[in-house]
C-alpha cells in the first residue's frame, strides 16, 4: 500500500518529456518532487505563472509571486507571467498537457466530484471545473477509500459533480486504474496489495485483466 508520497511517485512516471503540467493542491503538489531529472517539464499555475520553480529562500519571498495555493514561489529561466484569461486560455485551449488533481469520488464513467459536500461549508471549485472540462489528460490522485472506509471509486458519483466523463486515469494508495468504456480497468497493484483487496475497495464496476502487475516505482 502506498502513502501520499508513493502515490505522487507513481504519478510522476506519467509525466512525459515536454509536458506542461497543472498540479492541484494536496497529493498532486507532491508530484513535482518525483519527476525525473532527465526530462523537461514546465508547471503551470492557474493564477498566471508558467515555469514555476521551488519555494524561495527564506527572506526572499515576494508577495507578488505566488502559486494557485497562494504559496510564495520562484520561477525558472523561461518562465512567464500572464493574466487569468490567458491562463485559462492555456487550460481551456488544451495547451496544458496534463492535469493532476485530487477527488472525493470518481465514477466508472469518468465523472468526478471534488468540490462540494452538501450541508458542509462550500469553499468553491476554483479552477477545477475548467481544468477537468478542458484537459485531454486528467489523472486523479486520491486514497482508494474515504476515512470511513467507503470506496471513492463508484458506479455513479453521489456528490455534486465537478465534471462529467473526463477522468482517464486514477492512482490511489492501492492501484492504478483506467476509465474504460465499461468501467474501471485495473492496470497495476500497489506493492503488497492483492487484486482481491482492490476489488473489495472498489464499488464501481472493475475489469480485472488476467495479468495485473505490481507497480514499478
Amino acid at each position: 500500500m502506498l502513502d501520499k508520497n508513493g502515490i505522487a511517485r507513481r504519478i510522476a512516471r506519467e509525466v512525459k518529456d515536454g509536458y506542461y503540467v497543472n498540479l492541484g493542491i494536496g497529493i498532486p503538489t507532491l508530484v513535482a518532487n518525483f519527476v525525473r531529472d532527465d526530462i523537461e517539464v514546465e508547471f503551470q499555475s492557474e493564477n498566471g505563472v508558467l515555469g514555476m520553480g521551488p519555494f524561495p529562500w527564506e527572506g526572499e519571498e515576494d508577495p507578488d509571486i505566488i502559486n494557485a495555493g497562494k504559496q510564495t514561489i520562484t520561477t525558472l529561466p523561461g518562465a512567464s507571467f500572464f493574466d487569468s484569461s490567458m491562463s485559462f486560455a492555456m487550460i481551456r485551449g488544451q495547451h496544458v498537457d496534463l492535469t493532476i488533481l485530487g477527488a472525493m469520488e470518481v465514477a466508472e464513467n469518468g465523472d468526478i466530484a471534488n468540490w462540494k459536500i452538501p450541508g458542509k461549508m462550500v469553499k468553491g471549485m476554483g479552477g477545477a471545473m475548467d481544468l477537468v472540462a478542458s484537459a485531454e489528460n486528467i489523472i486523479v490522485a486520491m486514497m482508494h477509500t474515504n476515512k470511513a472506509g467507503a470506496s471513492k471509486l463508484l458506479e455513479r458519483c453521489t456528490l455534486p459533480l465537478t465534471g462529467v466523463g473526463c477522468v482517464k486515469k486514477i492512482v490511489t494508495n492501492l492501484a492504478v486504474l483506467e476509465v474504460g468504456p465499461e468501467g474501471f480497468i485495473l492496470l497495476e497493484r500497489a506493492p503488497g496489495v492483492s487484486v482481491a483487496e482492490i476489488k473489495a475497495a472498489t464499488a464501481g464496476r472493475l475489469h480485472i485483466p488476467d495479468e495485473v502487475p505490481e507497480m514499478d516505482l
Binding site: 498566471g48 468553491g124 475548467d130
Partner: protein
C-alpha cells in the same frame, strides 16, 4: 494625451453608492486594490455585489468589507480562509454565487471586449450549468455564459502613468487586466505613478483607454497568505 490622474482614493471612488456591483482584481491577497477597499470601508456603502475570485481573509482584503456587513452577494470561484464569510453565508446574510475560475475571468474579459456571451466547457453537466443553454461543438458539450455587468472595477497595478497605462508585476497581475474596462468606471491604483512617456509603449499590459481614474496608492501591506520557503542549511 488624456489625463486620468486623480489625487487619492477618495476622489477616485466618487460615484460609488449602495447596491452597486463592483469588480475587484486580485488572487488571494495578491494584487488586491488595498486602497480602494479601505476607502469603501470608510464610505460604508452597503448591499454590494462583489465580483472577485476570492473573498479575502477575516481581517484583510474583502474580509474588511465583510466585517462591516457591506456585502450582500459575492461572486467568486473560491472563498475559503474566512470564518466571518462562512458565518454570514451559513446564516443567510450573505448570498454566494460560485463560478469556475476560468469562466469568471472570461466573463470579465467578455464585458471588457463587448462580447455579450460565449461558450465554455467548464461546468457542463454540473449544477453550475443548471438552467443554462448548452450546445455541442465537435462532439464536446459547452455552456453559454454571459458577460458580467458591473458599476465599478477596482484594479491594482505595479506601475502606471498619467494616461492610465498599467503594468503589473508577477502573479499579482491575475484578474486585474481582465477587469480593467469591464465595468462602467474602472479605478486603478498603482504602487508607482509616473508621467506619460515614462513607460515603454511596447510593454504596457493595459492601455489607458480601459482606465477612467488612476491614483498613487499608499501604505501597501501586500500581506502574504502562505509563506513557503526553503531554509538554508
Amino acid at each position: 494625451m488624456i489625463v486620468k490622474t486623480v489625487a487619492n482614493a477618495r476622489e477616485a471612488l466618487k460615484g460609488v453608492s449602495d447596491s452597486m456591483t463592483f469588480m475587484f482584481g486580485g488572487f488571494g491577497l495578491s494584487g488586491i486594490p488595498e486602497n480602494a477597499i479601505a476607502e469603501l470601508v470608510r464610505l460604508g456603502v452597503k448591499d454590494l455585489t462583489c465580483i472577485s475570485n476570492n473573498a479575502g481573509v477575516d481581517d484583510f482584503g474583502l474580509g474588511l468589507l465583510l466585517q462591516q456587513r457591506q456585502i450582500r452577494k459575492m461572486i467568486s470561484s473560491y472563498v475559503g480562509e474566512n470564518d466571518e464569510f462562512e458565518r454570514q453565508m451559513l446564516s443567510g446574510e450573505l448570498e454566494v454565487e460560485l463560478t469556475p475560475q476560468g469562466t469568471l475571468a472570461e466573463k470579465c474579459r467578455a464585458a471588457q471586449a463587448g462580447i455579450p456571451a460565449f461558450y465554455t466547457p467548464a461546468g457542463y453537466g454540473t449544477e453550475v450549468a443548471a438552467g443554462k443553454e448548452t450546445r455541442e461543438y465537435n462532439g464536446k458539450m459547452y455552456v453559454l455564459e454571459p458577460a458580467y455587468e458591473a458599476d465599478f472595477a477596482f484594479v491594482k497595478a505595479w506601475k502606471g502613468d498619467e494616461a492610465g497605462n498599467l503594468i503589473f508585476k508577477g502573479s499579482a497581475r491575475n484578474f486585474n487586466p481582465v477587469m480593467a474596462g469591464a465595468a462602467k468606471v474602472t479605478v486603478a491604483e498603482v504602487e508607482e505613478l509616473l508621467p506619460a512617456g515614462a513607460l515603454d509603449p511596447n510593454q504596457i499590459h493595459i492601455p489607458g483607454i480601459f482606465v477612467k481614474r488612476i491614483f498613487q496608492g499608499e501604505l501597501y501591506e501586500k500581506r502574504i497568505e502562505q509563506r513557503t520557503v526553503r531554509t538554508r542549511s
